[in-house]
């Protein structure tokens, strides 16, 4: 600690240069925090997938509907515990930015297949008895201020109503649900499939995908194979995946997010490596007589190397802390993309490790030069 004033003063010897270097590292780490945060949030969704469930979609595409008649056939497959279904509704509330994952379901079947959903029995009962009822997730209810008894209009980007050809659907809020405290899962809503199926203008008698819970998760591959075999060569061939695989393939519709994030960050840090490295080299080059004086006063070669290296570490860690701190503050702005999540702690740890690697990579060459400095030559300006 006693060397801190010396290191700190050396760091700010050229204020403008240090500020610009600091800003470039801060922006790099802000980008790191935001992009890795998005990546981690998506990955978290995949990791949280239940191993005891399969998702059955059309072999052609997720957007292709499947006939509801498949349900009984899937139920007959050995190893299947329950079968539920859901359909992509593509809903938003008032503004396209207010996307909500609202899906029509057979509530009793769905609750059996997805037991993580927790709702008051009277809310579930109310949904059963209210044809246009809707059970809203806690996050969605809080976000839009919905209360039980409210009439809520949702606009569907896909489905029009048979009666009037309109895409606006009205629902009555009958209760709320939680999903084991996972906020990502409750910016959503569930409503009655029967009401939806009768009211929609087209594709009646079809569903979007099947949710199959298993008697034994170890039989996952066998059951998936058996389901797909059942509909092989039919008009509605299926593709059965574990919930995790389904989540991954769903994300890949937007592109390989992990690869894109890593490619951007690699480019940013590769540039930063040269920028910061050059700044540190220049800074040490300018201070050669001063470093020689330190050696004259009795500072060892290793001591001078350490001072320069710590200076680099201080610069990078300070900038990383500010950049990641800014990312933490700004991350809630991405709520509409990644849901209700905080910047994961793993991203902060990874950021710190990257900052240390950057500091050593950029600080070591000038520090080594400072270590090898010959006092007499340096003082003579040679």
């Amino acid at each position: 600690m006693k060397y801190f004033p010396l290191i700190w003063a050396a760091l700010w010897r050229k204020k403008t240069r240090t500020i610009f270097t600091l800003l470039s590292i801060i922006i790099a780490f802000l980008l790191f925090g935001m992009l890795q945060g998005v990546n981690a949030a998506f990955k978290q969704g995949v990791d949280n997938a239940n191993v005891n469930r399969l998702v059955v979609t059309s072999r052609i595409s997720l957007t292709e509907a499947l006939p509801i008649a498949q349900m009984q056939q899937i139920e007959s497959v050995a190893g299947v515990a329950t079968v539920a279904h859901a359909t992509w509704f593509g809903a938003y509330y008032q503004d396209p930015k207010n996307f909500i994952f609202a899906v029509p379901v057979d509530i009793d079947r769905y609750l059996k297949a997805v037991p993580e959903i927790q709702a008051a029995p009277e809310a579930i009962d109310a949904l059963r008895h209210t044809r246009d009822g809707i059970l809203v997730g806690l996050v969605a209810a809080k976000k839009y201020g919905w209360k039980i008894g409210d009439r809520v209009p949702l606009h569907s980007t896909i489905w029009t109503r048979k009666a009037d050809g309109q895409s606006d659907w009205n629902f009555e809020v009958v209760g709320y649900y939680d999903f084991n405290g996972d906020k990502n899962q409750t910016d959503a809503a569930l409503f009655n499939f029967d009401y939806f199926d009768e009211a929609r203008a087209f594709r009646r008698g079809t569903v979007g995908w099947w949710v199959v819970s298993l008697k034994d998760p170890n039989q996952s591959a066998e059951v998936a194979g058996a389901i797909d075999k059942l509909f092989l060569n039919s008009a509605d061939e299926t593709k059965t995946q574990s919930e995790k695989e389904f989540a991954q393939s769903f994300l890949k519709q937007f592109g390989d997010i992990n690869f894109i994030v890593k490619a951007i960050l690699f480019a940013v840090f590769f540039t930063l490596l040269f920028l910061t490295g050059n700044t540190m080299m220049q800074s040490v080059r300018e201070r050669i007589p001063e470093l020689a004086v330190l050696k004259t006063l009795g500072y060892s070669d290793l001591g001078v190397l350490t001072l320069v290296l710590v200076e680099s570490v201080l610069l990078c860690l300070l900038a990383a802390a500010l950049g990641l701190g800014a990312a933490e503050l700004l991350f809630p702005l991405l709520k509409s993309v990644v849901g209700e999540v905080r910047l994961p702690g793993s991203v902060l740890v990874a950021g710190t490790v990257v900052a240390l690697i950057l500091a050593v990579a950029t600080g070591l060459p000038p520090a080594w030069r400072a270590k090898r400095l010959n006092i007499v030559d340096a003082l003579a300006g040679r």
Binding site: K2, T296, L297
Partner: protein, 234 residues
């Protein structure tokens, strides 16, 4: 003569300059007693700064023995030599060589960071050193806010603060006007007379050399003349 603090025996120093080997000091012998104030004089390129660098442990002799403060410093490792310098030598340079971004007191504190003194003790010693050179009221000023004479006083305080055995001064007044130079030389003389500091000073200036108790002339890598000044000037 009292106990020798500096003793050089058959010291040779050669430099490689391109393909040429240049011998800067030729089998030089020198003894400096504790408490002496020695001025090393001579024309440019005579080897006086090289001699000073060997005495101060900044450079190594090609051959011969260099014994300073009772230690064969020509045999010390690089790390050992650094530790030895911190313990035994205070340096004063022509251009002060202060850290521009540090205040006077932080500059003076630099040698003490290598000791085991705590913050309060370091602060006390720094204040005492600045008081000795008459700059107690400039402790918080940075070098750019000081005059040349004041900056050199700070450099002298930095050289003194760890109470070294020997002060090594390379043209300490070379960058100063006559009046300020006299003040600095007077300060060095006081440190020698009143505080018993052994001082070895390189200078071109015969007037500056008059402040020393002994003048040594170096020419073409050898000592050519020694003059004991009984009273020393001023």
């Amino acid at each position: 003569m009292s106990e020798a603090i500096v003793s050089l025996r058959n010291v040779v120093k050669r430099y490689q300059r391109g393909k040429q080997v240049v011998e800067v000091l030729h089998a030089l012998n020198l003894e400096i007693a504790r408490g002496e104030f020695v001025a090393l004089m001579g024309p440019s390129g005579s080897g006086k700064t090289t001699l000073l660098n060997l005495i101060g442990g900044l450079d190594r002799a090609t051959s011969g023995e260099v014994i300073v403060a009772g230690e064969r410093i020509d045999q010390l490792s690089s790390g050992g030599l650094a530790k030895w310098r911190a313990r035994h030598v205070g340096f004063v340079f022509q251009f002060y060589n202060l850290m521009p971004m540090l205040t006077a007191e932080r500059n003076v504190e630099l040698p003490l960071l290598l000791t085991s003194l705590n913050g309060a003790q370091r602060k006390k010693n720094v204040a005492a050193a600045l008081a000795v050179v008459g700059l107690a009221d400039r402790a918080r000023h940075k070098p750019a806010e000081l005059s040349g004479g004041q900056a050199q006083r700070v450099a002298i305080a930095r050289a003194l603060v760890a109470d070294p055995t020997l002060l090594v001064c390379d043209e300490p007044t070379g960058d100063l006007d006559r009046k300020t130079a006299d003040e600095i030389l007077h300060l060095l003389q006081t440190l020698n007379r009143d505080h018993g500091k052994t001082i070895v000073m390189v200078t071109h200036d015969p007037k500056a050399a008059e402040y020393a108790s002994r003048q040594l002339h170096v020419d073409k890598g050898a000592l050519v003349q020694g003059e004991q000044l009984a009273g020393a000037a001023h």
